[in-house]
Amino acid sequence: MSWRAALLSDTPRSRQEAKLGALYRGWLRFRRNRLAVLGLLIVVALVVVAAFAPWIATHDPYAQNLAQRLLPPGSAGHWLGTDEFGRDIFSRLVYGARITLYIVVLVALIAAPIGLLVGTAAGYLGGWVDAALMRLTDVFLAFPSLILALAFVAALGPGIENAVIAIALTSWPPYARIARAETLTIRNSDYIAAARLQGAGTGRILVRHVMPLCVSSLTVRVTLDMAGIILTAAGLGFLGLGAQPPMAEWGAMVSSGRRYILDQWWVATIPGLAIFVVSLAFNLLGDGLRDVLDPRQKT
């Protein structure tokens, strides 16, 4: 039996095989969406570039060379040009991928579990727990996220870690909302009732029965929000509250390039393009994941 037939088999022989089979069927559905695959490829490329930055970059991203400042793209040795200090823009983009990925992953790892926990607890327990948690969520939702992040960073002090904390603190409420809505639709279902009859406690039901059903819609939403996170991080960097110079953060690079935008357009445009492409890729990926993970479309 080939590995493919084994994965698609109706009679898996272990839990792992069943899980792998379900994953493989998901991948087959995902693969039909060309744009989503393109998005996935770009995201994978971002990860590879970030992981192997020292080998991919042609120059030291922090090495200044004032003799070669503001070279246009296509110059010898600097094929995306140089910035106002003569630093190689390509190398800075490559190292910037690390920072972008760092921010995105960290924000997702902080915000999604908080939202999941708050949302499922509120939805399942109901009553005053629901009221208290949802009013707290409303307080956070009442502010535009960039403004709130600005306030947090202003209080915590500028820097990449504080930017991550600030963005995470402002991005969990929508996840809590989604998780709560999802929980409300399943809390009265018979399989939750069956788990209660078997004697499962509230914690066990939340973690093992409710959360797995919320994770898929949350994954989709987080992936779609990745673009927003990148933009918020870039916005904070642009305002000087995120990554500090000389760190090669894409938003900060756009910010420092804006002084030369009329005569040396590439200094701001190239990191801007990188932000655009990666944001778009996360959006395409999220769309594709929604097609795969939406349980209502599953046959």
């Binding site: 109706d10 009679t11 898996p12 022989r13 272990s14 839990r15 095989e17 069943a18 379900a22 279902s189 018979d190 399989y191 009732a193 069956a194 788990a195 209660r196 009859l197 078997q198 004697g199 499962a200 066990r204 093992r208 029965h209 797995p212 059903l213 349980p295 599953k298 046959t299």
Partner: protein, 257 residues
Amino acid sequence: MISVRDLVVTFGHGRDAVQAVRGVSFEVAEGESFGLVGESGSGKSTVLRALSGLNRSWTGRASIGGLDVAKADRRLPHLAQMVFQDPYASLHPRHTVDRALSEPLEIHGTGDVSARVEAALADVGLGPAFRFRYPNQLSGGQRQRVAIARALMLRPKVLLLDEPTSALDVSVQAEILNLLRRLRAQQRLTMILVSHNLAVVAHMCDRLAVMNRGLVVEEMDVATLRREAPREAYTRQLLLASKGYDRAVAGRMVSFD
């Protein structure tokens, strides 16, 4: 084995309050199979949900095997389990059959999970090939077999059945009913079967109670049902209605309050 006294179930509060069950009492002896029949909205499923502990907003007394249901005793899961009406809604869509069946054992820290899961599958007539499938890879009848296996994992003495076959095809209904009869004999189960189908109750039960508008109208044994000799006018009308639609009969139906 099961005792229900003056059970009153109220939904809603204040002026919106509705009494779905208005004082129901009955006893079920050990090993007996007891039917609860009645039309939609007569409160029969509500009685079952109160008895199982899923619904806690009721008054009166209910006990299973001497344990007070209202007290949510940790031993109750080992004593009584429930099979739900819709097998498409009663299995967790992201849990394999294996996971659904091991969950009750893991909750109570029972060992020997793998062997017991395989045995449970065999008991309900499913081969080991079904063990690692997801519910969406099963038919309605297979799902209901898994749901029955899950209810029996903790080896309960009482099985509460909430219209276990009404969501299934007629041919599959018979298979599930025969399976339940066989399991009842093998494991000496006490059963309460809620159904609106008098034929199913006649096939499965020793005794039954007829409910209307939250009250038990009449209790009788199955022989009386088969002789079509009920005491109450409401039950006679229910029997008539269960024989299929007849314009002349439908015209003479009256509302009982």
